[in-house]
């Protein structure tokens, strides 16, 4: 019991120190950037007295270390300050933009895993054959083509020409303002409010950006799956199983695949974390009110409240996903039990 408590304490303090370090580095780098947040608030034509007043209001007249200490103190009380770009409390903004990104990232990763793993396994099994090359080329395109470009192409073909999917935005203009956000996940909120039309409109709108983002994850996951699988397939136990007369499918899926699951968990967690950071260009093309764009706009305006809070979220996301994969390791790998 004491060992467990010690372990928890060690983990928690490691997390705390990482987050503090992350905050400190972001804060001081941010303050060194030649950006003037005051202009963003007061506009170009305000007199100097207004400038000075807002400068003081933002606390910019205090020494850097004092600004940082005040900020950390407030964060510990759950106050992330006000965002200059939106005039809202940063915490409220995050409750709006982060779910939008989580929703998009989750659908994307489902697509990425659903396609990436089978493709990777098939490519490994048929190594060097036509299907392997096809998977590799399609994967390479997905991995290297910029999402911004893919997004626009997708809109041109599937939205404008074929009309199969919804356009930019999260929902059709007819349903804007119909759903009161409860969880912030439109797919869930629309079902909670029993609005199937809104739900389907949301599905229509998420499917294209999620597929674009999912495509690049698919490429990454398929490539990694293929190489993990190749390693397993060359092991002696696989040859033994085949010699014993087991079918190829059984050998691949029942014997070899479970052995790569631990490695795959890391890959998937990383791909998911990457998606959760928010894909600013995809969000821009699809007018998706997500986390990546929020962070980028904050950064461009020199809005440190936004940048710091977002950095914390990204840090936390990685830490949480790390913890989850640790737990999954233990479940998946009998040796760690």
């Amino acid at each position: 019991m004491r060992r467990l408590a010690g372990e928890v304490f060690r983990q928690a303090s490691a997390v705390g120190i990482s987050l503090f370090g992350l905050l400190a580095i972001t804060f001081f780098i941010g303050r060194m950037l030649p950006l003037d947040p005051v202009i963003a608030v007061i506009g170009d034509d305000a007199p100097q007295s207004t400038y000075d007043m807002v400068y003081r209001e933002l606390g910019l007249d205090r020494p850097l270390w004092e600004q940082f200490a005040i900020y950390v103190g407030k964060v510990l009380q759950g106050d992330f300050g006000v965002a200059l770009n939106t005039s809202n409390r940063v915490a409220d903004d995050l409750l709006r933009v982060f779910p939008a990104t989580v929703e998009l990232a989750t659908v994307s990763i489902i697509i990425g895993v659903g396609l990436g793993i089978p493709f990777g396994v098939i490519a490994a099994v048929h190594r060097g054959k036509m299907i392997d090359h096809i998977v590799r080329v399609v994967g390479l395109i997905g991995y290297s083509a910029p999402n911004f470009w893919l997004g626009l192409m997708g809109l041109v073909v599937f939205y404008a020409m074929l009309g199969w999917v919804g356009g930019p935005g999260r929902v059709s203009v007819f349903y804007i303002d119909m759903i009161e956000p409860r969880t912030g996940f439109l797919l869930i909120d629309s079902l909670l409010e029993n609005e199937p039309d809104v739900f389907w409109s949301a599905v229509e709108h998420i499917i294209l950006p999620a597929s674009i983002l999912g495509y690049s994850s698919t490429a990454y996951i398929a490539r990694m799956t293929r190489s993990f699988m190749l390693e397993q397939l060359s092991q002696e136990y696989v040859i033994t199983a085949r010699v014993k007369g087991l079918s190829r499918a059984r050998v691949v899926w029942r014997h070899a695949f479970p052995n790569i699951m631990v490695q795959l968990v890391t890959v998937i967690a990383l791909a998911y974390a990457f998606l959760l950071e928010g894909a600013v260009l995809t969000e821009t093309v699809f007018a998706w009110p997500g986390f990546g764009r929020y962070l980028t706009l904050g950064l461009l305006a020199g809005d440190m409240n936004v940048v710091l809070a977002c950095t914390l979220i990204v840090g936390l996301t990685f830490i949480v996903l790390n913890l989850i994969s640790d737990i999954l390791y233990r479940l998946l790998d009998p040796r760690t039990r």
């Binding site: 003081r56 356009g167 804007i176």
Partner: protein, 538 residues
């Protein structure tokens, strides 16, 4: 590397979009006007604080002003919330008679006390709009005597000098003339961090309480703005029940939405997408000249830029008409004077662009300036359109006469900071005057109340540029005191001809507002100031 890749991407995307031949359709609600617009710039809805284009348009469509104007001519003043006004014989006291029976959406009556308070709080809060009122002699400390409610329907404004009436009245046709519902806002009064009262500023960041054709029902930052028709508006109910503004930052995405009929108006199309819409059978482009000018500021304290002949040489190095036909085709018109076209007192169009690309003239001025072989100078500029296009054009032409222009690109807000700090040699930026009168820019671009660097008169572009000419200061003030309109026009014409030769600014273009409109929208009117949502008909 990153730049090359971005250009390549943008080009291929544009190509693909332009290959589209989809028929324009109509799929928006019949009683709603849907616009695609980049609304990132909205920071607050408080009329006392707003300054930039997007919010100014939205707020002025939600709140009526004391004085209105023709929806397609902001120079033609009309009665607004004030049905008439009188001016005292000495020309210093304005009495506004408010319409009777007006009610805010809350049900509270619209009173002269509301109007007085709305103007006072602009001064008390002290944002850029206070500076506009301050130019007429309104002062925060005495504002309660200067702006008073005589009774429930009569508002009196007293200024220390007899300004030309049309000039002073036009101030109240914009955000300074908005009448807020004080009773509805009062419960939300707070305090600022310095302990002073905020007069509702914090609450008005995301709310509005005023009488007007529409009500603001929702603003979600970087997502949507929704306006709902105000039933029983005194001017008559507007045809559209709802105005839905969708935040679509990408030009190509806006165009696709317009072509699919999922929006009625696209507001931020770039040149290529505008050309696409222009060529489209079912879509239209509606344009109006805005008052915003793009110009290069030369710092007079810089040993090179401070030379009048150097500035003249630079003026002869831009092909204004050529750019107008190409890069600026859907964005602006060539214009070389401080008074934009359409403003009272502006030069006639044939006199507005005396400069052009002329390398010989540029060389002659360089020789006169004592730099026959050119010089090296730094020009700071923002990264957004059209700054890189204009400065690269200038850089290329300047190189032909031996001037090496070093370009330094940065965030636009940083360009503003640098000019406010006088920390630049050349800088390019944009400026929108507060009203459609040559005076609006004369008072900020030419007039300089105190040229000393420590005076920090940062709201005066003349101060930022280090330009100070007592005789021009007098000319600006004389024109502003001249009550004969014909005479005033002549004074501005003379001032413009002189300032475009001697001044620190190289005015290049005047902005065009372009509305890309889908087939469902039959009519909508716009003026230099704004698009009038209540004129939209489907």
């Amino acid at each position: 590397m990153l730049r090359a890749r971005t250009i390549l991407l943008a080009a291929s995307a544009a190509l693909a979009v332009s290959c589209m031949t989809a028929e324009a359709q109509t799929r928006t609600p019949r009683d709603a006007l849907v616009m695609a617009w980049n609304i990132d710039a909205i920071l607050t809805m408080d009329p006392a604080q707003i300054g930039e284009v997007v919010t100014d348009e939205i707020v002025n469509n939600v709140c009526d002003q004391l004085i209105a104007f023709e929806p397609d001519d902001s120079n033609k003043l009309l009665p607004g919330l004030a049905e008439r006004w009188d001016i005292s014989e000495d020309g210093k006291t304005y009495t506004f008679h408010l319409r009777r029976g007006l009610k805010h959406p809350s049900g509270n009556p619209v009173t002269a006390e509301d109007a007085a308070w709305s103007i006072r709080r602009v001064m008390w809060l002290g944002f850029g709009n206070a500076a506009t009122l301050g130019q007429w002699g309104l002062v925060a400390d005495t504002i309660e005597e200067q702006v008073r409610a005589l009774d429930e329907h009569t508002l009196q404004v007293t200024v220390p000098e007899a300004w030309p009436p049309s000039l002073f009245l036009s101030v109240f046709a914009g955000r300074q003339g908005i009448v807020l519902d004080r009773k509805a806002i009062e419960p939300h009064f707070g305090t600022r961090t310095d302990g002073k009262p905020d007069h509702g500023n914090a609450w008005l960041r995301s709310n509005l309480a005023c009488v007007g054709p529409y009500r603001l029902t929702r603003w979600t930052a970087s997502d949507t703005v929704i306006l709902e028709r105000n039933p029983g508006h005194w001017r008559g109910e507007p045809p559209m029940r709802r105005i839905i503004i969708r935040h679509i930052p990408e030009s190509a995405a806006q165009r696709l939405l317009l072509e699919r009929g999922d929006v009625d108006i696209a507001r931020d199309l770039n040149g290529e997408d505008s050309a696409g819409v222009d060529a489209h059978a079912n879509l239209r482009l509606l344009s109006a000249l805005r008052q915003q000018l793009w110009y290069i500021t030369a710092n007079m304290d810089d040993p090179i830029a401070g030379n009048a002949d150097v500035r003249m040489a630079l003026r002869w190095l831009i092909d204004y008409r050529g750019l107008e036909r190409t890069v600026m085709r859907y964005a602006g018109r060539a214009w070389n004077s401080f008074a934009p076209q359409g403003a009272f007192g502006a030069l006639p169009p044939e006199e507005g662009v005396p400069f052009g690309l002329d390398l010989d003239k540029a060389r002659a001025h360089l020789a006169k300036a004592g730099h026959p072989n050119g010089f090296t100078i730094r020009l700071i500029h923002g990264s957004g359109f059209p700054y890189p296009d204009i400065v690269q054009h200038l850089q290329g032409n300047a190189a032909k006469v031996g001037i090496r222009i070093e370009l330094e690109q940065m965030a636009y807000s940083q360009v503003i900071s640098r000019t406010r700090d006088k920390n630049f040699a050349l800088a390019i930026s944009a400026w929108t005057p507060g009203y459609e009168d040559a005076d609006a820019n004369a008072i900020r671009h030419i007039y300089n109340p105190d040229p000393r660097p420590e005076a920090k008169q940062t709201m005066y572009l003349s101060w930022r540029a280090g330009y100070y000419d007592p005789s021009m200061n007098e000319a600006v003030m004389a024109a502003r005191r001249e009550r004969d309109p014909e005479q005033r026009i002549l004074m501005y014409h003379a001032m413009q001809r002189r300032f475009m030769q001697e001044g620190p600014f190289i005015y290049a273009f005047q902005q065009v507002r372009l509305l890309a409109v889908g087939p469902a929208l039959k009519d909508i009117r716009q003026s230099a100031r704004r698009v009038a949502y209540n004129t939209a008909v489907k």
